[in-house]
Structures are given as structure tokens and as C-alpha cells.
Amino acid sequence: MSAAEKKLFRRDGEKPALPARNKLDMAVLKARLAALPPGVPHTLFLGLTSRCNLRCRHCKYSGAAPVKEMPRPLLARLLKQAAAAGVPRVVFFGGEPLLYKGLDAAVALAAGLGLFTELDTNGWALTRARASALARAGLACAMISVHSGEEARHDALSGPGSFARALAALRSARSAGLITYVSSCVFAGGLRAPSLRRLLAFARQNGAQGARLLPYAPPAGGGTPPAGLAARLRRADPGGYAGTCSSPGTPGCAATRGEVLFCAPDGTVRSCPYAAAALGSAGKAPLAGFLSRRRGRPSSLFPCRTVC
């Protein structure tokens, strides 16, 4: 371990100070999470589009799947239903959500409904002007995909120049006054403590409030078990700067506990963006129906690894 790395590692557990507006956004979110009605997920992921401007090797959207865009009336209806049900947070998801034409309007609608708004992006198109426009529309937070703390490794997965663009996006988002997180797919090779620490050091160095790590779940099943990642993470990051969808000692994951819900561009509802099985169609049934059906049904099966 180099001296520089040691210096970075000593900052485990610390988080960058937030500006006043971000602090208030977080306080409102925390207050709403603390008062979350039973059975209501804390986060609704909205897959706005299946289009993406990158071709990440691990991503299910990299193939030749037909392009799908969430119809704007469906999006507006989902946002209103989520707010009415007491869901505190919505994540604009993809594909790449910055390619969705109605993104700014959707952000404005969601923020106006009192939802905490997040954007999950690869960062390629998140210029300073775009970040500022989204912040003005009411975006609170940007999660930017960085799959490794090493540029070469990230670029090998997501394409040449993608690491530099993600880094620029982190800076743009911060300068626009957005709360920033690093979002990362973790593969079997990335489970080693030095790899995790390098990634977290990168996130801290660039002012991210935290890192959200997703165990890689290939479409055919297998990949990194979520529980395994959580256990490794606890050892590599005892300060809790990073989180994942599972935690040691708690059965299942956020999806099986009913804490998250995902709606794909075509209206298909799943227990999380990576779940294999569909729960139904939001085009045919109100969101509240999916919430009530999921109450009290925890499972130890991970829906990203099981077609059930």
C-alpha cells in the first residue's frame, strides 16, 4: 500500500460537508423515511428509456433489445401515485435517463410533488449546463456510475473516455449544487478490499456523499451474491460510507423487503431494476396495487439471481 493510499484510507467514514440546500433536502428525506407508512417503498426507480449512449460490457441494455421510452402520461401518473402513496424518493433511471426528452419536466413535476429526486446516470452527458438546468428544475441528487477507481478498468467496461466523463460529471453535479453519489457495479474481481477501498477513495476525493454498490447480476443468473458484497463491504468500509442492497444480519435485500420498486419504460413493474421476474404492468393497474401486494412478503431469495 502506498503512502498516498494510506492517507486516503484514514478518511473512511467521513463525508464532505453539504451546502445548506442539500442539507435541507437530506433532512426532509430523512424525516420522511422515518415516518414511512408500512409497506411503502422508500424508493421508486423509474426506467425512463432503454436507450443508452454507452455500451457497457456488463449491462443488459447493451444488446439489441428494442428501444423503449416511458410514455409521458404514464410517467406523470406514476409520480403522482408515488407521492400520494407516501413514497419519499424517486430515482430517474435508464438506460441513460439524460437521453429522455421529458426529463427536466419530470424532475420539476416530481420535486413539485415533494419527492426527493435522484438521477442515476453514466455522466457522459451531464455537463455543467445540464446539471445546473436539472438542479433548477428541482433535482436533488445525482448518482454517477463509476465501476472502478482505476480509469483503465472503468474504461475497459464502459468504453474509452467514459471514466474522464464520469469524473467531469461528478464535478459538474457538485458545482450545480447537487448531492452526488458514486454508483458502481461490483464484479467478483472487485470484491477484494484494495479494489473497494480504491473506489471509495476515489468517491471521497471527488466530493461524493457516499457510494452505492451493486453486486453484478448477469441476465443468466450467478454473479456476485449480494450478501457476500455486504459482508466484504463491512470489512473494507467500517465507517459505512458505502452501501449496497443487502446488509449482514438482515435477510434478503431491499427488493425482497419491499423497500424499492421499479417501473420499466414499457410499464413493467419489478421489485428492483435488476429483478428477473415481473410483478405486472403499471399501465394496467395503479401503483398502490403493487405496494399492497408486496406487504409482509420478505424472502431470502434475491430477485436479481432468481427467476421466480
Binding site: A20, K23, L24, A27, V28, A31, R32, A34, A35, G114
Partner: protein, 94 residues
Amino acid sequence: MPADKKNPFIREAITWRKTGDEAVILNLETSEYYSANEAGTFVWELFSAGKKKEKIAAALAEEYGIPPAQAEKDTSDFLKELAKLKIIAPEAVK
């Protein structure tokens, strides 16, 4: 900071936002935050707009259909709690 923060008795480090029926009040210095219920939010909104304690109590009595004496006590208790939490200056309660 809300544009309607007109009451000088609210401490400088305090900011807040209404979400649904609730107000979330945040102390920027300590990062402590408080969530007021519907009635508390009603009082807080009037207080932050610069209304005096007596006017707030009268409005509370009318809004919730409670006796004036009860509304005065509820308002006073709520403001005392805010002063105790260093959200507003103690002079505001007098």
C-alpha cells in the same frame, strides 16, 4: 432558506421546508432536524410569516375548532419547545 422567513425571532441557522402536511425544520449549524405535525406546521408557518403568538392561537382555534384557551396553551407550548431546541429566540415566547 424559505423566501417567507420573515420572523426575526427565528435563528439565523434555521431553515425549513413544508413537505405534505409537515414542516421539516433544520438547524444548519448542528444538522439536527425536526419534523412538525400538521398542527405544529400550521403554527410554524404563521410564526415564520411574522404573526404574533396571540394571532396564531386565534387562527389555531378557528382552524381546528378548539377552545381559545386550549389553542393559546398549545401555541405557547409549541413555541416554548422551539425555543428550547434553539430554533427561535426565547423572547418570542414572552
